[in-house]
């Protein structure tokens, strides 16, 4: 109970929602401009979904760039895609999917007010995020060594290049393959940045959870960071086949 809050609120409030409890039992987590915890929860979630909608539209620009250039230069995309390692991509896909599961279970535990379980699931999610970035690092390192770089920096070395087994791409390195790597580095780079930011936010939420700030009545921040994390997973679900598995 936070009586200070209720005093601030006291005089002018109109009790038009007819709740049984007055402002006397305004919980600490409830900001005083909200009537009820539910109203606060729904508001926070709507804000998060609006942010996620913005994130989708932000990534849409990259997906449209991908679509235009794949449509124009299918051979370059096919050849370049074969330079990526689908095994690494698949491992990272499984890692991210698993981290989505642990994030969802962190929310479930916090919904039940199980503090230590919430922490455990959050830690697992953070570890998966680090594994993802480590795998990504090795992939990037290989691309840098092979000269498979964006646009004008594209200077592939014979020894490191994977020969395409079939199709027009088998003939040689198609023009505009550098364009593919521009799009590849931009899409995976921006996605990786989201993973990095996700790690930071999840560590913050983990600390707050350990401080005992959350309960079955108030788990909004855990829910919101999980929503963000699922979106990062969602983007990767499309990136993986579109970048790594072009026929």
């Amino acid at each position: 109970m936070d009586t200070a809050n209720s005093h601030e609120h006291g005089a002018g409030h109109d009790d038009d929602h007819g709740e049984s409890h007055g402002h006397g039992d305004h919980p600490k987590f409830l900001a005083h401009h909200f009537d009820t915890p539910l109203q606060q929860f729904d508001t926070a979630k709507l804000g998060m979904w609006l942010f996620l909608a913005q994130e989708l539209l932000f990534f849409a620009g990259l997906f449209v760039a991908y679509g235009i250039y794949r449509n124009w230069y299918p051979d370059a995309f096919s050849w370049s895609s074969h330079q990526l390692d689908p095994i690494m991509g698949a491992i990272n896909t499984v890692v991210l999917l698993f981290s989505s599961l642990t994030a969802a279970l962190a929310v479930r535990s916090s919904q039940l007010g199980q503090k230590s379980k919430t922490s455990m699931w959050l830690v697992l999610t953070i570890i998966c995020a680090f594994i993802f970035l480590v795998v990504k690092y090795f992939e990037y390192e290989h691309k840098f060594e092979s000269g498979l770089l964006p646009g004008g920096h594209f200077h592939p070395h014979h020894l490191h290049v994977v020969r395409a087994m079939h199709g027009a791409a088998a003939a040689g390195i198609p023009d505009h393959s550098g364009t593919f790597f521009g799009i590849y580095f931009m899409m995976t780079g921006v996605h990786g940045l989201h993973v990095l930011i996700g790690i930071g936010v999840m560590i913050w939420i983990l600390i707050r959870n350990n401080r005992g700030e959350f309960s079955a009545q108030y788990f909004t921040p855990v829910e919101l960071v999980a929503l963000y994390w699922h979106l990062v997973d969602l983007i990767w679900i499309y990136l993986f086949p579109l970048l790594y598995l072009i026929d």
């Binding site: 709740e19 049984s20 009537d35 009820t36 915890p37 539910l38 729904d42 979630k45 709507l46 979904w49 996620l52 909608a53 989708l56 539209l57 849409a60 620009g61 997906f63 449209v64 679509g67 235009i68 449509n71 124009w72 689908p86 698949a90 999917l97 698993f98 989505s100 599961l101 969802a104 279970l105 479930r108 039940l112 594209f154 200077h155 592939p156 070395h157 014979h158 290049v161 003939a171 040689g172 390195i173 198609p174 023009d175 505009h176 393959s177 788990f219 999980a226 929503l227 699922h230 997973d233 969602l234 679900i237 499309y238 993986f240 086949p241 579109l242 790594y244 598995l245 072009i246 026929d247």
Partner: protein
Amino acid sequence: MSHEAHDKIDDGGVHPHIAPVKMYIAIFLGLIFFTVVTVAVGFVHLGPLNLLVAIVIATIKAALVVIFFMHLKDDAKFNALVFVGSLLFAGVFLVYTMNDTGHRGQIDPEQGVEVLPSTGEFAPGGPARPARSVAAEGHEGEPVTADVVLPEHAPQAH
């Protein structure tokens, strides 16, 4: 706004629908299954069907994540509207842009020319002219002369 989404209790408190752990694990296994399918299909040569299959599978996976992991099925309908609305606009962005760029420089595709021979009208834009494959050392190949008649303001390779 969303009281119907939180069961029937209406005391202003947050009463989330708590799904069983089994459900989360089942969804995860479903996601792994579809990942295996998408990798397997990636090694089968279906031509243009490959892209379609990859997108359909990715969309099924995305739907599983959004509906179950992100709880959109128990959430306020307005949140679903926000999300689906943004997808819709992303679709408009993609389809209209690609419909444009996909037909640049194709004023008479039947004859494979960018200029209407009868009027001399020129269709600008489109992909850069096909050139010889780049050498592995990576210098841009000289653009070969295209087999179509190009006016002076033909697009340069970019």
